[in-house]
Amino acid sequence: MYTFSSKLKTFSFVLMIVGILGIGYGFLTAPKTTADVEAILKAEEHHGGGHEANATAHDAHGTSTEHTAPAAGHDAKASAEHTEHLEHVLHQLQNKPWAALYVACLFFMLIALGALAFYAIQQVAQAGWSPVLFRVMQGITAYLLPGSIILFVLLLLSGLHFNHLFVWMKDGVTEVGHKNYDHLIAGKSGYLNFAFWIIRAAIFIAGWNLYRYLSRKNCLAQDEASDNSFYKKNFKISAAFLVFFIVTESIMSWDWIMSVDPHWFSTLFGWYVFASFFVSGITAISMVTLYLKSKGYLPNVNSSHIHDLSKFMFGISVFWTYLWFSQFMLIWYSNIPEEVTYFKTRIEHFNLPFFGAVVMNFVFPFLVLINTDFKRITWIIVMAGIVILLGHYVDFFNMIMPATVGDQWFIGIPEIASVLFFFGLFIFVVFNALTKAPLEPKRNPFIEESKHFHY
């Protein structure tokens, strides 16, 4: 049995407290009125970055054309535009702490979901190598419940207009004649409306958590069983879950991520998001395994198990790149305005995080993990794992931020604090769950093969 060391527990609480303080700071310092925004923009101007350049880039609310064509001499129009611009920036800055919280919450929840998908695949494949790691995976997936509940609350708050993360929720977007009327969103409103959207979210979250609960229960029951009936049950529900998962995962990625840019769509977006959090989940499994091993637990996990996890980290990183590039290249090549604006905002205003994510998620793990021997050296895996996890956070940052905060983005206190808070919560929940059951399934039919797994 694993005991949660008090040191790690304290560490997780420190992270959570620092996180909450930072999140609170982010909300308190967000500007309240356009006057505040004017002062902020003035201050920025003095730093050398004229906001006239910034004013051209507000694709998020679809008003960019009005800003780019200021009619000289028309003072009234110019001042109206200026007020509109200030209001727009105000919304972006008010979104900033919310978006920071949303990205971090989503990312950690998806790590648990990625680990859950990996675990289900192991069950369905009847893999012989991995049963010694099942309890580690179950520990990580324990975060799914708190993580998804917090996410659901955030989604609910968005729907109740506490923030403007989802522009398609604005009042009057679907009303012809209203000043917020948007023809494209109105056309999608049969699918993209708050009630249907939140019901879908509830069903998805309930389904995933139900599988996680039943699978864990059967796995524990199998320990004391006299036959393999619980194992077979797990096989069946895992197969059913994977079907449910791949459909809901796709829809989830449109609902919670792609819909922040409601005019834009990409048909491989679901796969792209999946690859991103799948590799993060596998990396989390690898890191927790290495941590437990360094503390003297998991005696039956040998270098071949570690090697296999590293191979998955390497392989899925390349898979992510394949999808990243496929999505980019087709849109870049066809150059259709309503599609290419997605990458134009990212390359112009998010240049460093956009290309930085490719370096962190592809170039670095590719070069480091391609060597066979490196795949089993702890410090190299941990280093690659940290870069991969940070890189995929940046990837999700790139998916959410351009549409919600636009060129007002910055990785500052609200963003870092949100990550710290959810990281602390993640550590606390995961390692607390690991103490609840023996770290090795006792009567899994493949446990002997797994113990002697040798590559």
């Binding site: 290249m329 870049w332 090549y333 066809s334 150059n335 040798h454």
Partner: protein
């Protein structure tokens, strides 16, 4: 007396074979070669064969493929006959790089895969119309054969291999 005498110990199970290989190595007899109908996991390590360097070759071949693709696309699309495809005139290679990535990727894989297979065949001394080297046709079906050099210890070796679970032990004069 001559050193070109060898023992052929034949097994009908890969686990027994692996066990015998471990015992033979422990007894310091020199294993010349093992013939198996299918790849046996861990046999190379058990026999003490040095790790393969094929992966290094693959990396080099991949780099060659990438270079060939880049040079080729640069000549065709930029220098020799620049075209304006979809409003993207080919002024410089790096500007239209995303369009060339699939070709660069495919050529890397193509070169690495084909040259690696050819290298593997050459290294294994396999080429068209080559006479098979395996000494017993049953090694292509369901038997495993271990070939061990004899150094004036024929009787001792025969006895040793019979105890390792061999279904047949033969002394062969190799020419």
């Amino acid at each position: 007396m001559s050193s070109n005498k060898v023992i052929h110990a034949i097994y009908n199970d890969d686990d027994v074979l692996m066990d015998a290989v471990h015992k033979t190595r422990a007894a310091h007899h020199h294993i010349e070669e093992v013939f198996t109908p299918f790849p046996v996991h861990g046999l190379d390590k058990a026999m003490g064969i040095a790790p393969t360097r094929l992966a290094i070759c693959a990396f080099i071949y991949g780099c060659i493929g990438l270079t060939v693709a880049t040079t080729m696309m640069n000549y065709i699309m930029i220098q020799d006959w620049p075209q304006d495809i979809g409003g993207k005139p080919s002024f410089a290679y790096y500007q239209n790089m995303p369009a060339f990535v699939p070709v660069m990727f495919e050529m890397t894989v193509f070169f690495a895969a084909h040259l690696m297979v050819i290298t593997f065949y050459m290294r294994s001394r396999l080429w068209p119309f080559k006479q098979a080297e395996n000494p017993d046709v049953r090694t292509t079906d369901d038997h495993f054969l271990m070939e061990v050099a004899v150094h004036d210890n024929e009787a001792e070796l025969v006895k040793f291999f019979q105890e390792t679970g061999a279904v047949e032990v033969k002394v062969i004069d190799k020419h």
